[in-house]
Symmetry: C3
Subunit: 345 residues, 3 copies
């Protein structure tokens, strides 16, 4: 029940090199590697001969040689050698996946190759903008369906309970949320005016050495199906015009989280926190990266246990509350796309 | 296939406090905790909102607050708060289980609440009698269906093979057993006259410093469905009238074992050994508790392997022998109750 | 889907003694032990009473006593004692398996006992010939179906890729193979004339101190269903007549591999490497035994991963190549036998 006609992040670009990396996306095991020219290739992780994982093979130039009988495949999946014989069976070959490296991430397309339009990769401008910096390469492996992670990120009301020592405060759960949806995205916005900032923001303000006292705080979520999540956050001194559009007096961050399904009950979270302050201080990357790592780890614990309980229980009743609006809209958008693909027809 | 209209021990009273304890009974995951007033509450271990285990939440006064979005439930399972909104959805709430603390144990009722009659808790008089002492709080977690543990305890002929270094001897397996059943209980009785006592009893006699030489020994079992087991045991100097009803010259013990089903293939054994001798010496609690712990551990090994073999094998033939009489009657009584409940109708 | 009317090696003879050994063959758990007279008995590993594994029991003379209630079985599986009663239920008893010790191995028959003809045990002459020596007792436990191990051994073209540091070389994969099949066996033969020997053979030649330079090398496989494998290998100085039938100038080895199915997705490999050179030097046993152990371990890694991939993937396409001829014939022979047995009828 996964969308096939979609780009999925399989890895950070920095993870992929001349060592073969195997990872499962939507129940499909895929190997990725770089050619000598630096381009990324993505092939199915099973030799067409006797199904040894190709991850156990080795690279010979730009080609991948199986570690069992030496069948060799080029980056398009074509079989170019069968040791011990001069002819190559016409049906020999492995599936290749359309693959694009963009925004420091490697994206694979699981649907029909002819529909693999690079323009469909969601815009992650913060990762392309030199005025914004942050540590990349971070990831979590979660034991839950990726939609539970979507839900979690769409509903930030949970911050008050799960992340009370960092980004949570009474203001978050109490704030009014505005949820909108169009054909391609769900947006959730929340403003928390005039309050003593939560510990994470207090630390960030201290790092940026800008101001004391109360702040106006905002969260602006953009969700693009099936699993792409962009969260613009920030604080500014009270009443300095942030809500009216002038965030120049504040400090801003952007959480990007790509929630790639691995199997029905596991997923990957490729994440980063980009910022537009103290951009020349690399140690701030580490400090903020660690803080975000720690708070996202709190969600991992929650989501793993939530999934276990969902699998263990029958006759589940599910009561919705107001904060669920964004997550419910995200699920509807995915559902509609599945219907369009005919997966659910 | 578990009896619902029955009281099951979920924990020793001493295990339950202001920390939330989660345990599964008959495939239902339940949390128990004490209110500030000391009463025990028992709720289903899943928030009605998004099914996070409530064991991951925290107590706020007498109420339980979910660790994900802060929904809060009172000890009856009623939802009393949904953070971020003023109205509570009418369907919000979690199942509460009737719960009673009695005989130092916490009992939950899994069936219809209106049938949860405290008078149906089996009588464990030895745990209420100040003339009897013993260490409580012990338990084993077994990887077998609870009826295998029932069988084991109903047939003490196995002592001669499994517990030969402690309570087993040729006399046990050779003794005649008398098995009776009424609507509510199965009883098995065995007398082993005039023999050199088994090691466990030799040690007990030494602790109680009473006599040397041969003894008359008895075992009197009472089983109350579905999993409540009381074993009266003892030895007395040969021919001092124990069998005729005067046990005053002997030393007596009472094993209580509550064999609560956890899942289809696992169970809990909440057990104690109570005694009426050396009642003022607490170190005897430890010595005898350890001895009984060690010999019951021998059964755990047996039962875990028996269950594995039963699950692994097809076309099992099961030959009954004379010693099985008690266990077979216990199974019949459970079966009849299941039929009455309609579970098997 | 296993052949029943076949002899399967359950253990090396040296593994079986007065301790009870339990092992699973074709999904049947079996215990083997030696009587006081040294004969091997093989019984089903479950007491007929309450299915405790008999491996948890103990030997009493030639009989096996269950560790739970003491039921006792003789080497034919007949129940000879039920403690606590004088009569033995007529249906009491456990299944006995026809068992033969031959070629230092213990063979059990899983089919109808009256068809258990010892003459059907495959001829492993090298293990009966005093001119050949080698270390026995080695085994691997693999997480793959036994036919994957058969395939692996029938197709030695993989040596060039899996065992390149020991027995693999370009000559192996490039050599022409001759495959023949009759009703009872598949044979695969390969000659690799005039080449610089692979590292394993270089070391063997050095141990045998016979000659330098190029060699003619051969591999002659005999496969007898369902899982018996004999591989005659050797090298001789170039052009000294080995291929014409005179191997006297060469050094010869024989790999015997019995690939006993354990479960649908696991198997045992009982193996040895016998040789006809340096037969009086026992340290050569260890050196060559270790070398073969190390290279077979490389196959274990491959086969375990191959099996995982086969189980994880749907819609598997399987392209055959020339080297598969022997393995495909072996599978056909097994398939035909299964049809004869009616398992697949």
């Amino acid at each position: 029940m996964f969308l096939k006609n979609a780009w999925y992040v399989i890895a950070w670009g920095e993870e992929v090199g001349r060592a073969i990396l195997a990872r499962t996306v939507c129940n499909e095991s895929i190997v990725v590697y770089r050619t000598e020219g630096g381009k990324v290739a993505a092939l199915e992780n099973a030799c067409c001969h006797r199904q040894l994982p190709l991850a156990m093979g080795k690279l010979v130039g730009d080609n991948l040689q199986c570690g069992y009988h030496g069948l060799t495949f080029d980056p398009t999946g074509r079989c170019v050698a069968v040791p011990g014989q001069s002819t190559i069976p016409p049906e020999a070959g492995v599936r290749r996946y359309p693959v694009v490296e963009k925004y420091r991430m490697v994206w694979v397309w699981l649907g029909a190759p002819e529909q693999a339009d690079e323009a469909k990769i969601p815009h992650l401008d913060r990762l392309a903008n030199p005025d914004w910096v942050g540590k990349t390469g971070q990831q979590f492996h979660l034991h839950c369906n990726y939609e539970l992670l979507n839900d979690n990120l769409m509903d930030l009301g949970h911050e008050t309970f799960v992340h009370i020592t960092s980004i949570g405060s009474e203001e978050v759960v109490a704030a009014h949320i505005k949820t909108t949806r169009d054909e391609n995205a769900v947006r959730v916005e929340r403003w928390m005016p005039d309050h003593d900032p939560a510990p994470f923001w207090k630390s960030a303000i201290k790092l940026a050495a800008q101001y004391d006292g109360h702040v106006d705080r905002w969260q602006q979520i953009e969700f693009i199906p099936p699993c792409n999540y962009i969260l613009h956050v920030g604080v500014a001194p009270v009443g300095t015009g942030a809500r009216q559009g002038d965030k120049s007096r504040g400090i801003e961050g952007c959480v990007i989280s790509i929630n790639t399904p691995e199997t029905d009950h596991t997923c990957w979270q490729f994440w980063t926190f980009m910022r537009n302050f103290q951009t020349d201080q690399r140690d701030v990357d580490e400090k903020i990266g660690q803080a975000v790592h720690d708070l996202l780890s709190e969600d991992v614990l929650i989501l793993n246990e939530q999934q276990k309980n969902l699998l263990a229980r029958k006759n589940i009743r599910k009561v919705d509350i107001g904060h669920d609006a964004g997550g419910i809209q995200a699920r509807r958008l995915i559902q509609r796309r599945l219907e369009e693909e005919g997966t659910l027809a």
